[in-house]
Amino acid sequence: MSTLSLTGVSRWYGNVVAVNDISMALGPGVTGLLGPNGAGKTTLLHMMAGFLAPSRGTVTLDDEPTWRNPDVYRRLGLVSEREAVQGFLTAYEFVLASAKLHRLPDPAAAARRAIDLVELESAQDRRIGTYSKGMRQRARVAAALVHDPQVLLLDEPFNGMDPRQRLHMMQLLHTLGDAGRTILFSSHILEEVEQVSGTVQVMVAGRLAASGDFRTIRRLMTNRPHVFAVRSTDDRALAVALIAEASVSGVELDPTGLTVRAGDYGAFTRALPRIALNKGIRVRQLVPSDESLESVFSYLVEA
């Protein structure tokens, strides 16, 4: 059982703050690091993995700093986002080299176990250069798992994987988490995180916007009104009818159409066609304007 702790960690590049005063403690189980592109997830992961010095604050694995301390790699594995592998090696050679560099007592057995874990046996003697993106990713995961680390950090591990490979990777992360390993993976796709882990750390613009159980955070998000852009044949008449609806909390009328705020997503989307039909108004457009992950995040930041 290992704990990765961050205390008041910031990282800036010149005037740009990439990570802003983040504190967290990661224990056994799977944790998702969620955030839009450019939120600072990779910077944070690199600091956790000892590949970047925090400008301020400390990153420790079981009370030992990760920066300038190669010994932490006995307990820590990293799968970076950059898809870099020695393409001239076969997967077996690649994983075996990792095992040997870790000075494991039986590198061959460890390499076979790791390749087995990611289900790459059938292709293990082919050069990695000939692999698909998902297979390469699995080879890299095998290399990171070869010494059975207590902590595994993965940067966007599902990128480039097909649905079956995703599912398999998700199951693998679950199994490792259930076995008491500390797993942290980053992603900018809400659904991926939702499926793999209950616990999330949400990063927005370098800050930790929310952390804890995913469902709780999601519920907090749905307390915010949903915003829709509506265009119809008679916007003013529709606005009058809509404001009488219990599910609608606000309507704005502007030259391009209506902006409707609804407290209840389901009730509003069921009510709109009924109202339009009764009033003889034709709805030309109905677009949820804050469904993107970024806007959900921005709610979190404002909260």
Binding site: R82, F88, A97
Partner: protein, 236 residues
């Protein structure tokens, strides 16, 4: 053979870049053979071919290609992370890589230098050039290996050192020769086999001490830089 050595060697010989090593030594060999077979006076072709081409161009350029390749290429394509995420003291990464770089450079350069030296004067000169060239290979490799950790443009900086500092400034500002690996190699070769073909400008003690200093100093620098190796985030 250590695993780091094995991966480094496979990485070096597995890349196309390796083919760049072949033409220069071949030109050196070819010119030496040509001059000898045409019966040109060694006093005429010796200095330009042995020093002007061999020690001033072939040795540093081959060392540059290999020295910046053993670690720099891995840093460029990101595979260095695989080696760095291992619980290895950083000297155990730098020293094998330096050994591969210096070894391959020495072999690639010493053989044509030896042959050219034999054709120009004697076996003794050939051996002297080969030995001094191998020592120079070590110093250059340490320098270029460290460069690949200090800057993102090691090849460019290395070329500036070789062409501008050693090649150009050395001719006009004699003081720069004290900080020129090329001059150390010439001084050492001339000490082992005194001939009229090599013109020295630094003393043998200075050359020996500086060669050792450059080799050790830049190796220590490389180990320290690798300890603080930072991976730049790509998305942020």
């Amino acid at each position: 053979m250590s695993t780091v050595t094995w991966i480094t060697a496979r990485g070096l010989f597995g890349r196309r870049r390796f083919l760049l090593l072949l033409p220069l030594p071949l030109v050196l060999l070819g010119l030496a053979v040509l001059c000898r077979s045409l019966g040109v006076d060694p006093g005429q072709w010796g200095p330009p071919v042995l020093v002007g081409l061999g020690l001033a161009v072939v040795l540093p350029v081959v060392a540059l290609i290999i020295g910046t390749g053993v670690l720099g290429a891995e840093i460029d394509d990101g595979t260095v992370v695989h080696i760095l995420t291992k619980p290895l003291p950083r000297w155990q990464i730098v020293l094998p890589k330096l050994a591969v770089a210096a070894g391959v450079t020495a072999v690639t350069v010493a053989v044509p230098l030896y042959v050219a030296g034999v054709l120009a004067d004697s076996v003794r000169l050939g051996l002297a050039l080969a030995v001094a060239g191998a020592l120079g290979a070590l110093a250059y490799s340490a320098l270029f290996l460290a460069l690949s950790l200090v800057t993102r443009r090691p090849v460019l900086l290395g070329l500036v050192y070789v062409l501008i500092w050693e090649g150009l400034l050395g001719n006009f500002v004699s003081g720069t020769k004290v900080l020129s690996i090329q001059q150390y190699v010439i001084a050492l070769a001339d000490r082992i086999a005194p001939t009229g073909l090599l013109e020295t400008s630094v003393s043998v003690p200075v050359a020996s001490v500086m060669t050792a200093l450059v080799s050790v100093g830049f190796t220590v620098l490389a180990i320290d830089r690798l300890r603080s190796f930072s991976v730049a985030g790509e998305t942020s």
